[in-house]
Amino acid sequence: MRLVETGNHVAAWGARLARVEVVSAYPITPQTQVIEEISRFIDEGEMECEYIPVESEHSAMAAMIAAAAMGVRSFSATSAHGLAYMHELLHWAAGIRLPMVMVNVNRALGPGWNIWCDHQDTLAARDTGWIQLYCATHQEILDTVIQAFRISEDPRVVLPVMVCYDAFVMSHTYMQVEIPDQELVDLFLPPFRSLWKLDLDYPLTHGSVIYPDDYEEVRFSMHQAMDNARRVIEEVAEEYREMLGSYHGGLVDTYRMEDADAALVAMGALASECRVVVDVLRERGHRCGLIRVRSYRPFPVAELRELLGSLQAAMVIDRAVSFGLEGPLFSEVKAAVYGHGDLPIFDLITGLGGRDVPYELIAENMEAALRGELAAESRWPSVRLNEHHRLVKRSLEEYWRREGVR
């Protein structure tokens, strides 16, 4: 069945096809349509699932933890401030090794208050122990939600998975999606059998105090699980292709990299746009390709080394910033290839708070980089300070001077 749907409704379809048993979520723009659609599915009897309405995202994740700890397949969705509010419990879910899947619709953090897209919210949740997968098409949202349960529940992994896609650019955009047959999804994703759960017949306690004697081992096991997830993500993507037909890459997705001597590196919808940039640059005689980072955690270190090692230049597009350093993806791409190539790597920090990024902007900057005309490694190419910004700054300085006399 083919639908023309919003990215949010497609995510809801993913949860439905995965036969999620508990959904606990709190509405926040631009995620709201996800849980509205799930509520409708449940109300109309199309989905057998318990929806737990809660008063906050902190409680949403607490309920998810409880449901998953009972061995129940659990799903949530959030965005930006919602994700920030549940941050403590993100650590809990990963730390006690609970499989679950949560969609995060990537939205900027305020203030200034902004409902539009950037990746600051999920990148700030980088080190919580959650696997993070970023989507670039509607079909990928659907397929990744289903795949995420397989990855999360795999006994080699047993970590929660965050499926991320861009606010509005994907969440509220209507595009086509192929809805697979439930029977096929059921074959791909059998019912959840948890590695551990709260069970009166086999009582155990989990997540209580541990002393320095044991804590490092717990953290090391999470690190190993993340390492295992590299192979599992690839395997699951391949198996999905065999059984259901569609494929969006494993840890990375590449475009025209076979003969490339330069590459763009990006995540999310901008990476889709970068395919157009690659085509345009190739028409202008540059052998450029695209590496789309699909899995940000675990990070595709070996893949980036292999793909970038022999190139002459690369440019990373960051839809977030690590204040006081540079774009977070830029830092990590550089770290991955450290000692494995001496190509110059450039960084564009752009598209923050929903700033529209036309493909020409990326193409122009990439061409300038290839001509050796970009002085700074990390740039903000779409920042344009106008008279309004300067006026505000001048009046604040004036106020400070006047008040300072007292």
Partner: protein, 198 residues
């Protein structure tokens, strides 16, 4: 690829319009993308919406700055709509009576008008005092762009519109399709011919 930018007022129904148009494109085998720019959604506030259609998958995700078709659903938005960007061959479709369209002729575009407000009022398509123009424009856009035939439009109406509003919606689409008038020819003739009084 064909790119369309819509300028409307909150309450005129543009979000439903682009959704139905995308569904119609899907019916005739096109790859489709439709999205509004979400801002302060209030009744009466200006809204921009975008539609892309192509024969191959659409990778672009940005807004549309050089539309093939510029659709203006409120006459007061013409200047703002043109100011947002056009290209040499942009075709303009405005909600306006033919006799009021004299100043549109000064614009350098192949230009069409449709008196969508009158059609909507005649058919009683009014919500809280505001004429809802989406179905009329669905017909008019079908006529002007030739991207989707009227049969595809009526099919998506059949699939999406509740039975109580079905008959008036079908009529709105038909009238939108047949009431478009050309008010200015293209400076350079396009490959396709359109008569001024069809």
């Amino acid at each position: 690829m064909v790119e369309i930018r819509f300028h409307s007022l909150g309450g005129q129904g543009a979000v439903t319009l682009i959704n139905l148009l995308a569904q119609a494109g899907d019916l005739v085998g096109k790859k489709v993308q439709a999205f509004p720019f979400f801002g302060a959604e209030r009744r009466g506030a200006p809204v921009k919406s975008y539609v892309r259609m192509d024969d191959k998958p659409i990778d672009l995700r940005s807004q549309i700055y050089r539309p093939d078709y510029l659709v203006v659903m409120a006459p007061s938005l013409v200047d703002a709509a043109v100011g947002e960007g056009t290209k040499e061959n942009t075709v303009l479709l405005v909600n306006m009576r033919e006799e009021e369209a004299t100043h549109l002729k000064a614009l350098p575009f192949e230009t069409y008008v449709v008196d969508a407000t009158s059609i909507a009022l005649e058919l009683g398509m009014v919500v809280e005092g505001m004429p809802v123009l989406n179905i009329v424009f669905l017909g008019a856009v079908s006529y002007v762009t030739e991207l989707v035939p009227l049969e595809a439009v009526t099919e998506v109406i059949r699939r999406n519109i509740p039975p109580g509003r079905m008959e008036s919606s079908m009529e709105a689409a038909r009238l939108g399709f047949t009431s478009v008038r050309m008010v200015r020819e293209a400076r350079i003739r396009h490959h396709r011919e359109k008569s001024a009084a069809s």
